[in-house]
Symmetry: C2
Subunit: 135 residues, 2 copies
Amino acid sequence: MLSRKTKYALKALTYIARQQEKKPVQTAIISESENISHKYLEAILLTLRNLGYLGSKKGKGGGYYLLKPASEIQMVDLLRKIEGPIALVPCVSLNYYEKCDDCPDEGACSVHLLMIEVRDSTLKVLENKSLADII
Amino acid sequence: MLSRKTKYALKALTYIARQQEKKPVQTAIISESENISHKYLEAILLTLRNLGYLGSKKGKGGGYYLLKPASEIQMVDLLRKIEGPIALVPCVSLNYYEKCDDCPDEGACSVHLLMIEVRDSTLKVLENKSLADII
DNA sequence: AATTACCCTATCGGAGTAGTAGGGTAATGA
DNA sequence: TCATTACCCTACTACTCCGATAGGGTAATT
């Protein structure tokens, strides 16, 4: 299941990306439009900024804005950074790999092999999606 | 992420399905072979029995056994019943649908549309997999 | 009748999530 | 300059779920 945090991050990014002008968007506006708790959204936007997706401008007329064109923001990267692994079990994760403490042999594990297939099909979708695609 | 419960359930089922003879398999044997807490496994096997996947036999020489051929046990069904929804957000779940409290219009939600694609690609994998396929 | 193995209830610590509280700091415009 | 606006940061809390444990009860074999 996708966390609310990730969902909010996606919604906020699409909201910002949808703006015609490059003007910064205020957090209050996003939180009202998308029905997200204002303070909670602040924390998320801050994360997105620290990840290099957003820039911010303080003072009157300030807010958040995209640092890259929406077409260059890939869904896979975003989800991995906010949500964590794409894979459903750590032992098939490409970016967050962890060995199972119980499995002596991954190659012989039926769950392992099944989850690789699931992971790959999910990746296929996410690797071909940018922020621009979902606006 | 897949819960340990589901992973254990899959492992237990494959273990039972691998037996040549139709003889019942004891919980103790499964828990030792697959490194699963014995008591916890008991609860899982009980669930699988109540779901109609397994039968059980008490007394000496008892244990659990498959009620259906492995080829008729579909991964989608199993995962849905043990783990819950396949979808990553409730609003795109086919079997566990729930409306988002924040979204006024699902059709306009970018997250919604993206997650439908992810769900469908996952389903495509799981719908073509039976227990027999992953042994 | 004793053994074996299934069956059930209750409980618990730990981890993570969503959200709140409250304040601080920097940069605009007037 | 100075007040306003809006970003920035820390800490805390209520809540839920998960994996696991404890301890016993019951039914069916040999």
